[in-house]
């Protein structure tokens, strides 16, 4: 149950064929707009600062849309509704923290990361850990964790993009992977994160509009209030408070996805890019609205599809991941379906672009710092690293099957267990030490890798309700607090201390 549940986070099965003129035309238009934004952004990318932090010149509205687009991968549009269809309300615990996490990340991280970025010219998330603890080892380890997590996470997203492109254009999965990767790589390598942010603005807007329209259709087609009554009569567990999973499993989702939101490097890294830190005032409000609006599709399609099945208007799904494509093709106008499928590609590409950027930064900036090296031309090497990481991820994606699924499973959890303590707690607690940071990152990395590997090969299974990511996160937090309490380190540098007090 556990592994099948985790595998359902990943889009690894082919979608129903979507090769219809309207869908193909909208997809081509979408890719054309993305290419145009990439070309425009390339002209604005002249330095490593432009490439990695968009020259610290992004407004709060683009920042909001870019963080939302980077947070939500194709899972929010395809895997999520499918998971909702099979687990009922239990799946909702993945997105339930959205009402809280934006304010939490603003209070805990946004201001301090933005100010540290300005004072110390930081360009990566591990940079902040490095200057907070005066520890290249902590910075390098954090960078290594990011690279490990990103390769798997990116491979699963590129595979999903390949599946979407194959479904739309009928080119085959292999070509789908390489076409999707090439388009994303083209604007990422030339325009860096500047291209990423402004394509994210377009992609995020598209995702939000598509989600709202589909939600309205879902409620309409599902029968409004009748939807609930028909589901409760046929399958009462579906709409019970914890859905078809145990309360502990549901709460574990909330814990990992709530706290883990504080340490997704491809998302929190964007705080460095904000032009005016005083505009952070509106970030939680705008980002909460954007995120919740875009997640309406997750809830609406998952529930409406279930209602249509129990009402006999739709045959039971053989694969839960078909919930969105089948609902769109059978119950919404073709143009709306086309916009949503472009939205799925948008969601995946925006996440992949952000991953490319943070992994390239970790390779060219953080890991060399660990061994006291500094790359001379970070812009050039950033571009080379972006290409290298993308090729590795695409090759892994093409290897397909179980390996990709395995690598993708622990991405989110690995970010959470390695970065939450030293970043979210470390930037707010002066008693934290570099020993605590290094130990917690190591414990998070090792426990996630070991437990996921043992679980994958069925050598060890955790009890029902306990997830590797949740367990690793809490072990890492306790290690951080415990080791910091028994070790000593002079406080942070004066400027860092001042920012921690603001």
């Amino acid at each position: 149950m556990r592994s099948s549940l985790l595998l359902s986070f990943l889009q690894t099965h082919s979608l129903p064929p979507l090769t219809q003129p309207t869908i193909v035309t909208v997809a081509i238009l979408y890719f054309t707009v993305v290419a145009a934004i990439g070309t425009w952004a390339t002209r604005r990318t002249r330095t490593a600062r432009d490439f990695f932090v968009a020259g610290r010149g992004v407004g709060v509205v683009p920042l909001t849309l870019a963080t939302m687009a980077a947070t939500l991968s194709g899972f929010a549009f395809i895997g999520g509704p499918g998971l909702m269809y099979s687990l009922g309300l239990g799946a909702l615990f993945i997105i339930l923290p959205a009402a809280t996490t934006n304010a939490m990340s603003a209070w805990v991280l946004a201001k301090r990361l933005r100010l540290l970025g300005e004072v110390r010219s930081l360009i990566t998330v591990p940079d902040a850990i490095g200057v907070r603890f005066n520890s290249p080892a902590a910075q390098g380890l954090a960078g290594l964790s990011i690279v490990i997590a990103v390769i798997g996470y990116m491979a699963t997203n590129i595979l999903a993009l390949g599946l979407v492109i194959d479904a739309i254009f009928g080119v085959g999965l292999g070509w789908g992977i390489w076409i999707g990767m090439t388009v994303t790589l083209a604007y990422s390598v030339s325009g860096g994160i500047t291209a990423g942010v402004y394509t994210d603005v377009f992609q995020g807007t598209l995702m939000a509009i598509a989600s709202v329209l589909v939600f309205v259709y879902a409620i309409e087609v599902g029968g409004g209030g009748e939807m609930t009554r028909s589901i409760v009569a046929a399958d009462p567990a579906f709409l019970s408070p914890w859905g078809k999973i145990s309360p502990l499993a549901a709460l574990s989702f909330f814990f990992v996805f709530g706290m883990g939101a504080l340490a997704q490097p491809h998302v929190v890294h964007k705080f460095y890019m904000l032009k005016d830190p005083l505009r952070l005032k509106w970030y939680p409000l705008l980002s909460s609205i954007a995120l919740m609006v875009t997640l309406l599709l997750f809830f609406g399609v998952g529930t409406a599809t279930k209602a249509l099945v129990v009402q006999g208007k739709l045959a039971p799904l053989t694969r839960p991941d078909d919930a969105t494509p089948i609902f769109l093709l059978q119950f919404t106008p073709l143009l709306l379906s086309a916009i949503v499928f472009a939205g799925v590609a948008a969601a995946i590409m925006s996440t992949v672009n952000s991953f490319m950027n943070v992994a390239a930064a970790a390779l060219t900036h953080d890991i060399p710092s660990w061994v006291n090296r500094r790359v001379r031309d970070e812009l050039l090497w950033g571009r080379i690293s972006t290409v290298a990481i993308s090729i590795v991820a695409a090759v892994v994606a093409q290897a397909s099957g179980a390996l990709v699924a395995f690598l993708g499973i622990f991405g989110w959890g690995l970010f959470a267990s390695t970065l939450v303590p030293s970043l979210a707690v470390g930037l707010n607690w002066k008693g934290a030490t570099k020993h605590g940071a290094v130990a917690s990152i190591t414990v998070g990395l090792m426990s996630t890798l070991i437990l996921e590997t043992l679980g994958y090969f069925k050598a060890f299974t955790l009890p029902s309700g306990v997830t590797v990511s949740g367990l690793s996160l809490v072990l890492s937090l306790l290690t951080f607090i415990g080791i910091s309490a028994i070790t000593k380190q002079a406080g942070p540098d004066a400027d860092v201390a001042m920012i921690m007090e603001i």
Binding site: A99, W107, T228, S252
Partner: protein
Amino acid sequence: MAALTCAAIAIAAAYASAFLPGGATVISSVLMIIGIATMAVALMILGAIREGTRARPIGFALSFLFAVLVLGFGIPLFFSSRDIWLGLPAATAIIVYGVGILPVFVLPLVYAWTFDDRTLSGEDIERIRELTRNHADKSSE
């Protein structure tokens, strides 16, 4: 930090209890709920409360969040009803509308309302710009 430590211990205890014969019980879920609510609020207090400033509006918002999380998850654990509230079974509605929506009407607004006085002011920005200039001078030396 004491609250954050207790929260982490509560969550670890919730997971540990699942390893006992018979697996996770309602006590595991109660520990998890208390741990999650305490950890979220403790982290936000660490990040939001500045020395020498009044904590009241933010303190109110975070107390509200603690209550929403504990009651929003706790009530459905012990209470069930066949009533439909706003289109969902009552216990489910408490989670979806309580935990999933209610905080949006409080936390971001309190954040914006208290931002200038408690989070970041123009004066703070001036201090930061001074620090940045000092760093630039040191680097050029």
